[in-house]
């Protein structure tokens, strides 16, 4: 027995068309449920993507760095006569070591061959002063491979009034923190004096402003080419303090960091550990979205259930005569199930259109924020997957809403009704 039966479908259609208002209201319930689902999920995931992008896309999946800390193995432990004794050492000081990442070049060469790694960029961070007349402002300067940084970590999204290429092509240029520029009354095209902690000076041209949206960061940090930073630190071309890794699969980050710690003895931190709160926020927002949508669809389902129940009650004599003239219980059940599914299909299709239009409208609405200088409108995710989920969900809901009443209709005993009249 096939699922599709044109005769029964025709009867179902006639029933629905005879009650246009009721059918439309039932379908509108589904439309509303699916529409709101699409809007919510598109907007929420768009926002999630934006927030994730804010941190996750701009953050290295694994960061390898050098940390100044006390030696893990104190000299007394190597002194044989006391080897089996307990050692109590007071007032341990951190070991004075250089900031340079040990084996940096070797690690970089090794990781470039690793198939899990999408890209790797070195950084030189150094503490500096911004000099303006007699005043010196504390600051921090990061030297990096600008184009790689833009490709892997969306550096360009932070830059206002300039392009990464302007910086990359000029060894005497700087992208100045927006807060620093404001405090020193500097504009793009001006020059700024940078003094390093060991006293060397550079006069750098401002080719762009750096705006992260966090005022405290923008008041301190500036960016330049790696060579500029190495020159300021008085070091050679093999000097860098950090390595930033981007992986093909972000999930592999934790394992990779662990591997690097054990095999190279370096400090390595993965993105999940560094930004655990973002993961939580994303999953909770997704949960809320789906919970609200499911609730709306269940309400729509109850609407369909109600209307079908009423219709079946009203249609008892019709059901009786259909059964008397040779329609089976299954035929009758399908007539009413088709009605539920038709309501579902029509309602859900309208819901998808409504949802698309509304989310398109949202995506055109202006949205400007300090934190995201490159974003001008609300973020909306037009993933077709949501539309598939929406329609599947609507069909499942309407099927179950229609199943119970239609089964009841199929079970009606025609004799009871035919005799009763």
């Amino acid at each position: 027995m096939s699922l599709y039966n044109p005769l029964l479908l025709g009867i179902a259609k006639t029933h629905l068309l005879a009650r246009k208002k009721q059918s439309a209201i039932a379908a509108l319930g589904v439309t509303f449920g699916i529409g709101v689902f699409i809007i919510l999920v598109s907007f929420m995931t768009g926002l999630n993507g934006l927030l994730d992008g804010l941190i996750l896309n701009r953050t290295p999946h694994v960061r390898i760095y050098n940390e100044i800390k006390q030696s893990e193995r104190q000299p007394i432990e190597d002194f044989a006569p006391y080897a089996d004794k307990a050692h109590i050492i007071h007032s341990i000081k951190p070991k004075n070591s250089q900031l340079k990442l040990r084996n940096g070049l070797a690690i970089r060469a090794e990781l470039r061959k690793d198939p899990r790694v999408k890209g790797i960029t070195p950084q030189v961070s150094t503490r500096i002063f911004y000099q303006a007349g007699a005043v010196q402002l504390n600051g921090s300067l990061a030297g990096m491979d600008v184009l790689e940084e833009a490709r892997l970590f969306n550096f360009q999204q932070y830059i206002v009034g300039g392009k990464p290429e302007d910086l990359a092509s000029n060894e005497n240029a700087i992208v100045l923190g927006a807060g620093v520029a404001k405090n020193l009354s500097l504009q793009i095209g001006d020059y700024v004096q940078i003094v390093s902690i060991n006293g060397s000076r550079e006069r750098l041209k401002i080719v762009g402003l750096f705006q992260s949206g966090l005022a405290d960061i923008d008041k301190v940090f500036s960016y330049c080419n790696i060579g500029t930073a190495q020159r300021l630190s008085g070091e050679g071309g093999d000097y860098f303090t950090d390595l930033h890794l981007k992986l093909h699969d972000i999930e592999a980050a934790a394992g990779m960091a662990e591997e690097l710690r054990s095999s190279w003895g370096v400090n390595a931190i993965d993105i999940k550990t560094a930004n655990a709160q973002f993961e939580t926020g994303t999953s909770i927002r997704n949960m809320i979205t789906y919970a609200v949508s499911v609730a709306l669809l269940i309400v729509a389902g109850f609407g369909i259930y109600n209307i079908l129940n009423m219709l079946i009650y009203e249609k008892m004599p019709d059901i009786a005569i259909l059964k008397a003239t040779g329609f089976s219980a299954l035929d009758v059940q399908r007539i009413f199930l088709y009605q539920a599914i038709l309501i579902g299909v029509i309602g859900a299709s309208m819901g998808l259109i409504f949802g698309f239009l509304a989310s398109y409208g949202i995506s055109q609405a202006p949205f400007e924020t300090e934190a995201l200088p490159t974003i001008k409108t609300f973020p909306v995710n037009f993933n077709p997957q949501f539309y598939v989920i929406g329609i599947v969900f609507a069909l499942i809901t309407t099927f179950f809403a229609g199943y119970m009443p239609s089964r009841k209709a199929g079970r009606i005993d025609p004799v009871d009704i035919l005799r009763g009249q």
């Binding site: 019709d318 005569i321 259909l322 008397a324 329609f327």
Partner: protein, 225 residues
């Protein structure tokens, strides 16, 4: 012995609600092809109950029921529905036309369900039946837009559409005035004579019953004559 269309052997039926009552108490019955039979009896004697047992819609009975020699005992509901569709036509006191559909569509539905003919053939047949009953001019009207007598004739056309072996009626003239009742009787008479179809009609109308081939008188769940 002539060809027996419908045969009932030792039909018994009990109702349990509110108290146990045996409403049919061992009935034997046989209807021949082309025979016009009426069932009479006082209210509550079980004549309608018998009709619904014979119609295959009520399956809660003891005894055996044969349609054209085939036993209907123990068949599944879907199989019985198929048999009703093809071999039995129904006319009730109330017309039971589907209000959303046109007169023509109402007549066509059982044949569309049977699915042996194309839609065009069925439509042609349905128009024939409507013409036979003199309601062909109403074919495209909605079922709610015609008069009571016309509705009953449309219901008869619907009962005839699959050329059933037997047509069963539960007081088909009960709601009609004498003129329309006479008309329905004439149609029934014509069917038995021209198509060799049998008729089994439950009625209170003595005039109507008297004109049939045979009257089955019932009392207290038994046939008395």
């Amino acid at each position: 012995m002539t060809h027996s269309i419908l045969e009932a052997r030792g039909i018994r039926k009990k109702f349990f609600d509110p108290v146990e009552v045996e409403i049919l108490r061992g009935l034997d019955l046989s209807i021949q092809a082309g025979e016009f039979v009426s069932i009479m009896g006082k209210s509550g004697c079980g004549k309608s109950t018998l009709l619904y047992v014979l119609s295959t819609m009520d399956t809660q009975y003891e005894g055996d029921l044969l349609l054209a020699g085939q036993s209907l005992k123990g068949l599944k509901a879907a199989e019985l529905a198929r048999i009703r569709n093809q071999h039995i036509g129904f006319v009730f006191q109330f017309h039971y036309l589907l209000p959303e559909f046109s007169v023509l569509r109402n007549v066509m539905l059982p044949a569309l369900k049977l699915g042996l003919k194309s839609k065009e053939e069925i439509e042609h047949d349905a128009m024939e039946k409507l013409r036979l009953l003199d309601v062909d001019e109403q074919a495209l009207k909605r079922a709610t837009q015609i008069s009571g007598g016309q509705k009953q004739r449309v219901a008869i056309a619907r009962a005839l559409i699959n050329n059933p072996d037997i047509i069963m009626g539960d007081e088909p003239t009960g709601n009609l005035d004498s003129k329309n009742a006479q008309r329905v009787f004439d149609i029934f008479r014509e069917i038995t004579q021209t198509q060799q179809q049998s008729l089994l009609i439950v009625t209170h109308d003595t005039d109507f019953a008297q004109k049939t081939d045979r009257i089955i008188e019932m009392a207290d769940g038994m046939i008395i004559s």
